[in-house]
Symmetry: C2
Subunit: 192 residues, 2 copies
DNA sequence: CATGATAATTAACATATGTTAATGTAGTTT
DNA sequence: AAACTACATTAACATATGTTAATTATCATG
């Protein structure tokens, strides 16, 4: 259905949502649609006040380096969150871009409103904290992978860890997530 | 002084610690001393129930790969936390080692006790959540650095970001943190 | 002071990955 | 169908980093 109900279903898997919490969230969460190529957050923008929950479609966050090369930090599909979490949590200008790579429907929330939810309904802060802990584990694993694995092994790990991504992300998106060039990824694929 | 009081000072910088909270924490936090070379957590051990707050000294977490090479995930000095956060938060066997690289005094806390603190004193959960958010930013930045910087630039970034580390960690510790060999680090240093 | 252990540097050579450029493929528009 | 565009593959060559091994430096200890 790709509507607010999907979001409440997602939340209900992790905590019990009271009617009051439901009302508050309904009033602050905005459903937005984006098309392939749309930019939700742009590197260098003054601040990052929003985070997005994906109902449908695919997005990515990435950085453009001084040689104009893109490096993918994160992908997001249904039921994932995405933003520039560097800018968002450190309250600084945007360090990353977030764009839409398949038409998508997202729920947009801003930090101040989420803080209000935490204050009025502490169980949401616990829910968020547990999510952060899981994400923290994923990031640590990614770092460990980068430290100890070759490009080929990182690729093999990626396709087993995120099998859905191969079909929705383009080759050079995946390469830039793995920290290699699209040509290297092609080479790796051809001798697998 | 390197005693429990230092820990309460640290906590007081982020939240206000009631007498009751102080009592509870005093009863669950244990001061431990380790010597250079001691292993606090060993890769493969059944579970990871502890996290450590550093009062003094230096520790590191690292993984040993299938070729017996070490890869440093994190360093910790005074006022930092350290553990195998992969095992700790995902409630799995230890994926990392934690060892002491300069004699140290730490406070040992276990997850269940910390959970009790969160339940009885929710402001501690907020404090922890904010710490996690900051750490999350640091990990994201590290990933972005790995994706876009050369070994030399990662090194230059490291010494400006963590200037204290150069004097306390050995060369091959730093190299393994940067994802390069000690020889490469030597090479980088010689043409800087 | 001499010895031995540990760590850091250097050099020659090997290899994985990057770079550039050409070619191939698929999907879209006219 | 032709032409165009975007993306993927391939190949020849370049370069950063790894590997191995020898040398040097540092520091504790007999």
């Amino acid at each position: 259905m790709n509507n607010m109900e999907d979001f409440f279903n997602y939340l209900s898997n992790g905590l019990s949502v009271s009617d009051e919490a439901r009302d508050l969230i309904s009033s602050i969460a905005k459903i937005k649609r984006f098309q392939k190529g749309d930019l939700l957050i742009e590197q260098g923008q003054e601040n990052v006040l929003q985070t997005y929950f994906v109902l449908n479609g695919v997005l990515r966050s990435f950085v453009i380096d001084k040689n104009d090369k893109e490096h993918t930090v994160q992908f997001a599909i249904k039921n994932w969150w995405i933003s520039d979490y560097i800018g968002y949590y450190s309250n600084s200008e945007a360090m990353l871009n977030v764009d839409c790579i398949k038409d998508c429907i997202v729920i947009k929330l801003n930090r101040a409103s989420i803080q209000e939810v935490f204050t009025r309904f502490p169980e949401f802060e616990t829910f968020h904290r547990k999510n952060l802990e899981r994400t923290f584990v994923r990031l640590n694993k990614r770092i460990v992978n980068h430290l100890q694995l070759s490009a080929r092994d990182r690729y093999l790990n990626f396709i087993t860890e995120y099998p859905e991504m191969e079909s929705v992300a383009m080759n050079y998106h995946i390469a830039s997530y793995l920290g290699i060039t699209q040509q290297s990824l092609s080479r790796i694929r051809s001798n697998t």
